[in-house]
């Protein structure tokens, strides 16, 4: 009876199109936003910022990006790491070339640059599908990482090949660099994530999102009813890459501060974990992107606590266990619940609607 829909009538088109049609959802969402914006910034400390909240927000953004491409448009991509690297290096180049530019604008421009690169690497998707495409997207991963590693222009000819962020402020509070307070970096990421998630949610509910899903469900049928495959696939690549690029920019500028491209954007550290997030969270679900990101970000911390602190294993052995558990979890999810955590949530909602009655 908690999720009671009775008595909530949709009497106008506007209320029919609402993102949260149910009062309960509206209340829950408002509470969540209230906590996120007005409580957490005051209690956040450096550990929560660096270990959980900021990585969670950044990876949610990357997961939304990949979910747009893979979950909604059906094009499997393994090149997430490469695209995040584009976002990071664009941020670095713009930052060093235009010292006065606002960081928010820099991050968004980096997203746009990544979108352009994404269109370029999305071109093969018009000819090839399925596995062939998945492998082709690996080309972008390897090529881009190699490019940023080997062409010195991208890292301003520094000796180490590393790129390091310089301090930038929003409303005269530093949000990047070593001196940025935890609440500032958190709020900066949070604002971007909330705004961009709303944009994504609405894109998916609009004409363009419906054409993505049509292509995903059956591309030939979609083409016959007049969905242009060129425009649809490339727009999915562009928008997905925009999100991933912004995530990459934040990952570099706000989260890590200094990166070395072959380590930070490796296929094993970025591309596969983000793919895990959307599989475990739920393919083709906004909520799933967040749940998956939360799960993947907190899992290593929880496991480390359990195995290193409780059982007393060495860090190396615990790491091996972690890899094993990741793999097993992925298989278990695919077998037991192919629609991921988001589906579990909707089942729970269904149960709550009738609770405490059996039916």
């Amino acid at each position: 009876m908690i999720y009671k829909e009775t008595g909530q009538y949709k009497s106008s088109y506007k209320s029919d199109h609402a993102i949260f049609p149910l009062l309960q959802d509206k209340i829950a969402f408002s509470i969540l936003m209230f906590v996120a914006f007005l409580i957490i910034p005051f209690v956040i400390n450096s550990y929560w910022e660096k270990a959980i909240l900021v990585p969670f927000l950044i990876f949610s953004l990357a997961a939304i990006g990949l979910n747009i491409l893979t979950g909604y448009c059906g094009q499997v991509s393994l090149g997430t790491g490469g695209f995040m690297a584009v976002g990071a290096f664009s941020t670095y180049k713009i930052m060093t070339s235009f010292p006065d530019m606002n960081i928010m604008i820099i991050v968004l421009i980096s997203g746009l640059i990544t979108a352009a690169v994404g269109i370029l690497f999305g071109l093969p998707s018009l000819r090839i599908k399925g596995f062939y495409l998945a492998v082709a997207t690996l080309a972008s991963q390897f090529f881009l990482v190699w490019l940023f590693n080997k062409v010195p222009w991208f890292y301003n000819y520094s000796d180490t090949g590393q790129i390091t962020v310089s301090e930038r402020t929003m409303f005269s509070v530093p949000v990047t660099g070593a001196t940025a307070p935890p609440y500032a970096t958190y709020l900066f990421c949070l604002v971007l994530v909330v705004l961009l998630s709303f944009a994504a949610k609405n894109l998916i509910r609009s004409k363009i999102g419906r054409s993505w899903m049509a292509i995903r469900d059956m591309d030939i049928a979609a083409e016959i009813i007049g969905v242009p495959p060129l425009k649809t696939k490339l727009s999915a690549f562009a928008i997905s890459s925009f999100y991933i690029g912004v995530a990459g920019a934040l990952y570099f500028a706000v989260f890590l501060g200094a990166i070395e491209v072959t380590e930070s954007f490796d296929i094993m550290t970025i591309s596969f974990p983000v793919l895990f997030m959307i599989i475990i969270g739920g393919l083709g679900s906004m909520l799933g992107s967040f749940l998956g990101a939360a799960f993947i970000v907190t899992l290593p911390i929880g496991l480390k606590f359990l195995m290193v602190d409780m059982v007393g294993l060495s860090a190396v052995t615990a790491k091996h266990f972690e890899i094993t558990i990741w793999g097993l979890l992925m298989i278990v999810f695919l077998i037991v619940e192919p629609h991921g955590l988001a589906r579990l949530w909707s089942i729970a909602k269904e149960k709550l609607r009738r609770w405490p009655f059996p039916y």
């Binding site: 082709a136 190699w146 080997k150 052995t317 890899i323 094993t324 990741w326």
Partner: protein, 334 residues
């Protein structure tokens, strides 16, 4: 002959040899894909796992020694000092067959009739799980693998080719690793055996029948599940051979599992469904990579093109032939 020409020939020969190594990995992919429609991303980890197990048996490591020692404060390391190569390889083969059986039981059985892409992602999970288990079982330190295959440069070839260059030029002869020659011989032997097996034995015919049409094969009484176990065991065996070759060359370590990523462009170039495609694709990519490294990379003074060149090369091929060079034509029906 001019020195440039000789260098060119040397590069091509070396490319062909490393291409054979790629083909060896790609072969395992193709076999599984043909028989069960699964694109087995874990093939590279199979090779790593097989090589780890082989070294473990050879040196008599106690499985899960690190874990047991840390949990119970014991100090186990080795059962025995060494084991004959032949026996160790045999035991590794048995392990790989057992692994195939476990995978069929625990994973594939539950994913029948799912989308191919779901199965693909399941094998990514499998790759992670197996890698973790391998590390837990045998430890993650770099191990030396030696099963008695000779390696190093061929002195005979160097001396034979040194006279070919023009008088007065400082040419030192060709350098070709003997290990690669052995790998080529073994790969050729393996492919011939596989071809004979699938052509002339009853099981081989059943295998081809399953690859052709699952339902038709089922209806004439072929057990799909036993064929799947068989195919996964065979590709486990091929992974072991690949693992031995690559492990001898560069030591048994995590990076061994990345050869799967090297084999992927070979696959899309040659086509997922074609054994000759895997071989010719491997050779093309091996040669292309080496030539690109020396001629394009040398021209622009930039290194490590090997990381992506194969992918871009395969991608260009794909734009003209979306099913790869030898793959079955993709026919879509609505």
């Amino acid at each position: 002959m001019s020195v440039e020409l000789l260098n060119f020939i040397e590069t091509v020969l070396n490319g062909l040899m490393s291409g054979v190594m790629y083909s060896l990995v790609a072969l395992g992919f193709v076999l599984i894909f043909k028989a069960s429609g699964v694109f087995n991303f874990a093939q590279g980890v199979f090779a790593l796992f097989a090589a780890l197990t082989l070294v473990g048996y050879q040196t008599g490591q106690v499985p899960f020694a690190h874990l047991i020692n840390e949990l119970f404060g014991t100090n186990y390391h080795n059962w025995y000092a060494s084991m004959p190569n032949f026996l160790a390889i045999l035991l590794t083969m048995i392990t790989m067959i057992a692994l195939a059986w476990i995978i069929e039981r625990l994973v594939l059985k539950h994913l029948v009739n799912q989308d191919p892409i779901i199965l693909f992602m399941a094998t990514i999970g499998l790759a992670f799980a197996l890698e973790g288990v391998g590390d837990l079982m045998w430890g993650s330190d770099v191990k030396v693998l030696d099963v008695g295959i000779p390696s190093g440069g061929s002195i005979w070839l160097e001396e034979a080719t040194i006279g070919l260059a023009a008088e007065g030029s400082d040419y030192y002869g060709m350098y070709i690793d003997v290990l690669n020659v052995w790998a080529t011989v073994i790969a050729v032997f393996l492919v011939i055996t596989l071809a004979l097996f699938s052509q002339y034995t009853k099981t081989g015919r059943a295998l081809r029948a399953v690859a052709d049409d699952h339902q038709a094969a089922l209806s004439v009484g072929i057990s799909l599940r036993s064929i799947w176990i068989l195919v996964w065991a065979i590709s486990g065996f091929i992974a072991m051979v690949a693992g031995i070759m690559w492990g001898t060359e560069s030591g048994v370590q995590f990076s061994l599992s990345l050869i799967a990523l090297k084999a992927l462009p070979v696959l899309i170039l040659g086509g997922f469904t074609s054994i000759p495609g895997a071989i010719i694709g491997g050779l093309l990519i091996g040669v292309g990579e080496k030539l690109a490294e020396i001629y394009i990379g040398g021209f622009f003074e930039i290194g490590a093109l090997e990381n992506w060149f194969a992918y871009v090369m395969a991608l260009v091929f794909l734009l003209f032939r979306p099913q790869g060079l030898f793959g079955d034509k993709i026919i879509e029906r609505v």
